[in-house]
């Protein structure tokens, strides 16, 4: 996923200080079988957890071959406890999470801006709004919790909300505005504000939409 213009994410109304695990560490990309391909992740892009990241430094380890075997042999490394491979959230349905926890995360880096030049990733402190994460770099991902409110930029929508489209579902990491809430038990969002604007420095930085995270009730 290349960088998407006008993407931004803000936690707006939250109880996150009472939720130690709302922000998790992740590395964004895609999987083909067991092969992970890292990719750029734009601010507010919606993701789900895939599997635990290998613990850096302990990925490739050796162990004794076992009884009757001499020398050391390659062994499976260890993984992190709560740092994840993150992949695109294809929909608002997250398996195994039916309460307030949605299992859907927004890319929300607390790092400074980073620019890439060839194989170099260079921090450029100062810019703070709408930061994307370079491919193969760790970042923070914020879990969307039912009842909380978040702000997104226009680039985070494949269909932007209007006065007639005041509900949003999730498709391929982006928000899709719709006229009615879903009825399949999935996570969706109610549009709370349509006319917000981001300010960056002394300039207008584009549209800001405030959405409230909700979970639909599946119809029988």
């Amino acid at each position: 996923m290349a960088y998407i213009k006008n993407t931004a994410f803000e936690v707006y109304v939250t109880n996150s200080k009472r939720n130690d695990t709302q922000n998790i560490t992740g590395k964004f990309g895609s999987f083909s079988g067991q092969t992970f391909t890292p990719d750029v992740c734009s601010a507010g892009f919606l993701c789900v957890q895939n599997s635990l990241l290998p613990n850096e430094g302990y990925e490739n380890v050796v162990t004794r071959g076992g009884a009757g075997t001499n020398g050391f042999v390659e062994a499976t490394g260890i993984t992190n406890g709560n740092s994840w491979y993150m992949v695109t959230a294809t929909s608002g349905n997250a398996v195994g999470l039916t309460g307030d926890h949605t299992g859907i995360y927004a890319c929300n880096t607390y790092d400074v801006a980073r620019a890439t030049l060839g194989n170099l990733a260079i921090n450029i402190p100062g810019k703070t709004l709408g930061l994307s994460v370079p491919a193969d770099e760790r970042s923070d991902f914020t879990e969307l919790i039912v009842g909380e409110q978040y702000n997104w930029g226009a680039g985070n929508f494949s269909t932007k909300p209007t006065t007639d489209l005041l509900y949003c579902t999730i498709a391929n990491g982006l928000l899709v505005a719709q006229a009615a809430a879903p009825t399949d038990g999935s996570v969706y969002f109610q549009v709370m504000k349509l006319d917000g604007r981001f300010t960056e420095g002394a300039f207008d930085a584009g549209e800001k939409y405030t959405l409230r995270c909700l979970r639909s009730k599946a119809t029988a």
Partner: protein
Amino acid sequence: MINAAKLNSISDDLFKYKSANTQDKVIKVCSADGKNVLNLDRDDIIVNGRYATLEHFGKIANMDKDAPIKFNSTLKHYGNYQKKVMQNTVLYCAALANKAVGLEPYTNINDVANDVNLYRNPIFWHALAYISQEVITPLFPAVIPAATERLVNWNRARLGETKLVSIKSNDFFLFDDDSWGSVSSKPYQYLYKDMIALTPKPYTAKTKIKWYQDIIDGEAGEYYAAFMRGAYNKMYAIMLAKFNKAMANEKYIPAENKWDSFTPQNWTDAIMAAEALNGVPRNQLAAMGSLSALSKILPTVGTPAVAAGIQGQIGVEWVRNGFLANVFGVDLIETGLAVVPGTQNYKPKYIGLSDNGQDKIFIFAKNGYSLMEGAIAEGSPITITFTPEETADMTIDISETIIFDIQPAFSQKVMEISVD
């Protein structure tokens, strides 16, 4: 593996710590009748914390009864000292917490233990966290495994910023055969620099300790060492992982710099190549490997090959030391394995200079450019926070973060010899 020689050579400056003369640097503790029973000096507490930690690591180093160099302990009563340092540290933090609410400092550790409010007191924990950081941070480099120092050139980088390390071109100019009238016709040649970006990243361990067992009844050295051991293991592991990954990359070590077995001929070829490519004589080269790998560097002669002089002088050295200290003018340096945390008691896993179980030797220039560049965050590369109020079971949550980055540079050329 703790290096006793390195512990012995730690600068005395670390133990002459003097902070700015702040208001609560020294807290006088008086008994009920007003007599001064104890002066709790924050500087002394930090200095003694460092001594206690050093002694703790020294004790571990001295467990090796046959080690040629022993740690020079200055303590006569190790256990008492460790307890006393921890108690004074806890008393000082408790005194600060008491002062904030208008209470007299406690005179002994039992009073602290009995005040269960203290365990939830943020002033107490902030004071302890800052003391812990000040004890640990300068000691940290002293307990990092020696291989890290050999392979990594450490830089400092401001938090949030990237340290750019320039790699100068090692190219040099080729002279064309010329004639008097054609000097201007020769091709241009260029030198290009490369660059490495080092951005210190956080690595965090979140742990729990217990109020009575670890704080009230704890030992200072053990307490501080617990913070340090996981951190340096992680740093060592990342350094080795980056080194091993680089060694599998043709950019850093082309196939022509690899030999698939040890023979005297391969050894001399590798040395000659390392001398030429790095522009150093062979007494400036070193060969690094595990004990298992180094033990296989044993010159042989004749057909069928027999170990040269194995019955004589080198045989004695080989058997006693496990490997020859110097072969053909090149020093051999041993690097140990490190155990992967959490695996030490069942099917232990290790990290070492070779990540596939193969025995490998790496020949490099001792005084050449560094193989790896590292950056540690300026200010507080190690941060510790305690959050007791969040727990309901008299445990204290600790979050310890180390902030660093390591990247391969390989601005000198390394030779690899597989000796399996």
